[in-house]
């Protein structure tokens, strides 16, 4: 049972090390839902396995077993000392707290963005701000909005403006913000999944870029829009400049920040030299999703059965009348 519990943990470690290799050859339209599902499944399974391990070890404590009405000896997996439950329990509690904090912050930020968006007004989901600083972003409220400053629009040619609008429209149409939030939530609940969440963020951008290409029919125009906008934003006043991706000091305080640094170049590369798609990463991701979810379900079911058995043994040893369901189960057919 303990070996089985290591499956989601092993999957997390694998994803921490190799999420780039897994996502590189995926078509962005496939990568976005697949990698998000992978992050969610792995994160949920890890949390569940940790919680079950903690529960199994702690639930055999005599005073707990007595109150709950189950036999501690039957419940304890492989005569594990109750002390072993402390570590997985503490980790599970810490990760759950992190996930909760993330959720609260995300909900608050979304509500703020929605309020601000309503105040800005705009037409046809386009809000133009009269601002010389070049900015462009999309706001994932129910209606959705694309916010672009006049400073950004002035920099681009008509074709490049069309590419930018098509890109942001793609984010809203595909509900990309939802995928990114779910992936980030998974990473909050399991920090090993941070690189994978970064890959979801990149895949979302790549898909929006591809949609822009599909609309205007010119890969180089989209690449140009991207390069021009990137340079303008990073040259703007008051911007914190990302440290060089290669330098040792520039690794950034967090994995996701380092990811963002190479985003623009990865996107330009994807636009100028499209990659060959392969099908093995799809299979690999599906196997990982299946392995993690099967493990979680199996272990939950096993724990459920063990609790029932422990309750039976306790009831028999204390000569307590069994509840209906348990009685039926205990009687020989």
């Amino acid at each position: 049972m303990i070996a089985l519990g290591l499956v989601p943990v092993a999957a997390s470690v694998m994803l921490a090390l190799a999420s780039g290799g897994l996502s590189r050859h995926l078509a962005p339209a496939v990568a976005v839902p697949l990698l998000t599902l992978l992050a969610l499944a792995t994160s949920l399974a890890t949390g569940l396995v940790l919680s079950l391990a903690a529960f199994g070890a702690v639930a055999q404590l005599p005073f707990l077993a007595e109150r709950a009405g189950w036999s501690g000896g039957v419940l304890a997996p492989g005569n594990l000392e109750p002390g072993w439950g402390v570590l997985p329990g503490a980790i599970a509690a810490a990760l759950l707290t992190a996930a909760l904090i993330f959720t609260v912050r995300a909900a608050r930020d979304l509500a703020r963005a929605g309020r601000a968006c309503r105040q800005l007004g705009g037409l046809d989901r386009l809000v133009i701000t009269h601002d010389d600083r070049p900015t462009a972003y999309s706001v994932p409220t129910r209606a959705g909005a694309i916010v672009v400053s006049t400073g950004m629009l002035r920099l681009l040619s008509a074709e490049e403006r069309r590419a930018l609008l098509a890109h942001e429209d793609s984010h809203l149409r595909h509900r990309h913000a939802l995928y990114v939030l779910l992936a980030d939530l998974s990473a909050a609940a399991n920090p090993l999944l941070r690189p994978l969440a970064g890959r979801v963020r990149l895949a979302v951008e790549l898909q929006a870029d591809e949609d822009a290409v599909a609309e205007i029919g010119d890969r180089r125009a989209v690449a140009r829009a991207l390069a021009r906008a990137s340079l303008a934003v990073s040259a703007g006043p008051g911007r914190r400049r990302a440290p060089a991706a290669g330098s040792a000091a520039g690794a950034g305080p967090r994995g996701s920040l380092a990811m963002a640094q190479t985003d623009a170049c990865a996107r330009i590369r994807a636009l100028t030299e499209p990659r060959r798609r392969r099908s093995w990463p799809v299979a690999a991701a599906l196997v990982l999703i299946l392995a993690s979810s099967t493990t979680a379900l199996t272990m939950t079911w096993a724990m459920h059965q063990r609790i029932e058995a422990a309750q039976l043994v306790y009831a028999e040893s204390h000569a307590i009348p069994l509840p209906d369901a348990a009685a039926r189960w205990a009687e020989p057919a």
Binding site: I128, D131, R224, I268
Partner: protein
Amino acid sequence: MTQAGPARPRGGLEREVLACLAAAGRPMAPAEVQAELGGGLAYTTVMTTLSRLHAKGAVSREPAGRGYVYTLRGSPGAAQASMTAHRMLKLLEADDDRAHVLSRFVADLSAEDERLLAGLLADEDSGTEEPS
């Protein structure tokens, strides 16, 4: 099969026309908008889009010559809108701990990235000028 490029999404052309007027920052005649947008757009299409935008109150127009020139109508509370946009930017630039609720068109660049992109643009721009 009359359209040159792939179709625009719903409301796509209206957005492009608005963006075009905003970028110009001055009144534009329909023919100018048509020339700026390019891509085989018919004059009547641009004209229709502009009058629809005018009906919605997004652009204002004034007579010029035989027709009209159009300007992007500034939002009613420009100062307020600018403050709201500023608050939004703060959300956008939230540190990495925070949820990424807003998705930016482009992220920050490293110095290395900057050189690479500037190089790409230089190539592109010289490449597009050659034929003319």
